[in-house]
Symmetry: C2
Subunit: 317 residues, 2 copies
Amino acid sequence: MKDLYCAVDLGGTKINIGIMTKEGEVLDNIKIPTEVEKGPANSINNIKNTIYELLERLNLNKNDLNGIGIGSPGPIDSEKGIIVESGNLKGWKDVKLVEKLSEEFKGINIKLQNDGNAAALGEYLFGFGKGCKNFIYITVSTGVGGGAIIDSKLQVGASSNGFEAGHMIINLDGRKCNCGNDGCFEAYASGTAIEKIACERIVNEESIISDLAQGGKVKAQYVFEAAKRGDKLALEIVENEGYYLGVGIFNIIAMYNPEKISIGGGVSNCLEMFYDKMMDTINSMSLNSSTQICKVKKAQRDDCGLVGAGALAFYDI
Amino acid sequence: MKDLYCAVDLGGTKINIGIMTKEGEVLDNIKIPTEVEKGPANSINNIKNTIYELLERLNLNKNDLNGIGIGSPGPIDSEKGIIVESGNLKGWKDVKLVEKLSEEFKGINIKLQNDGNAAALGEYLFGFGKGCKNFIYITVSTGVGGGAIIDSKLQVGASSNGFEAGHMIINLDGRKCNCGNDGCFEAYASGTAIEKIACERIVNEESIISDLAQGGKVKAQYVFEAAKRGDKLALEIVENEGYYLGVGIFNIIAMYNPEKISIGGGVSNCLEMFYDKMMDTINSMSLNSSTQICKVKKAQRDDCGLVGAGALAFYDI
């Protein structure tokens, strides 16, 4: 029997649950809706049932699990195993997730970490970060998050809330962020930012973005689609995405001096459309001794949030 | 005989050399001018002679030294013991500092690290950072630099150039920095920035700053002096220093989630004049779970650059 672990990637809309090996191979996984509005007890129950379903499908029982690792939107309290509060899990407050799961899975080691840290660990152990000592994972989707590996160890921070890269101020008094601050990195470079910027500009500028949205919500994917079709406004917004991402990544390189950076999250699926602008931005700036050695690529593991969560159960943080 | 170490804090204008214990007690030290323009060979020779002078004063010989640690302006190559190039040591390039000193001090362990990292280590081991696991040291003087301790280990980075906090972009297309970029943290919050901002504004605004400078160079200390005397413009510039420093520190908290931050460097001598504005800025922003737990204070060890350099010789990085 291989060393087997259960991985739980808890998100605002869905929960991805899998059984994996220590080498990052996912033997099986199931995605279920989070149903945030039904409250944490319902979701915890669904997680339990899904773990049993997976064990059954793999012809295993719970004692075959060497541990359970959970990645969750923060802020969390990793030591107490509590989700303190989260913008992505509205209404959930001080959820004793580890305690509740421990009641069902007695004697099994259960770890909780914020989702950005978990994903960074997954991409580090099983993806582009493999083998390097200083590594950064950035996820660009609704927000901008991620995690840092420093000298082969996951940066957790004093209260498990390190690497809130999305809320770095990059433009004093700039665009309003959902967090309440002005000028955050994610107010410029997230998928949400792309959507907002497009919404503001299509009011006065000609673009097929509105046609693609068909009167509905403008989504980042429409902006990328319009850019692919040569739409001038969309091309400019996509180019700016490369610029803003480049500025934020430059800041991260300045602070962490990493060997490698992986970019994941929904927006990274179109990375090739703004990669050159992003790299030009980074390379046009100072600190060459740090920027030149740093390799930046799309994340290799789409499921790094899942395998990183599982790895929490055996990786010594 | 106690464990004794030699510490070399190499700066752009002076070199501070001391003999210290493992507990951070400096038994004796001597400051000599760097004389950058005379080239590295001259300075290295002066360092050697000063070490011998100190040993003589303490009635020791070189075999009593368990190691020599050097903090130097970066970029450096710590592994090779080379100063790669430095804006503060003009004309010095690929200086094999460790090799040259090793010829004189055979068999003695010699370590080189960038000065911000060394100072962070000093303040961590012997100052305000003592006993905590996640700690940041920021120096605010000509530029803004510092270092980070993460989970009780010094963050070095892939090429020993981590924590270039001064070159974080905080204001896109903002004030020009000496590094060539626009909008760097140090273009707003360093002593040099205070001087430049004062110079720009006294052209059109009434202020006693010009009187204090007596037609000479406007120095940051004149701005602080004018503010103490109630000068309106100076008070505004000092208030803004608190704001900008607060923004940069917020970014650092967002990324590192530290328990404590120490502020050192010349400008920190007037910290009480802008401390409240700085803290108000930090506390008015998001990420409360990280900002609330973080204590920010003036550095306890004025000589953290020196004792941190010495500690490099015995601290396992």
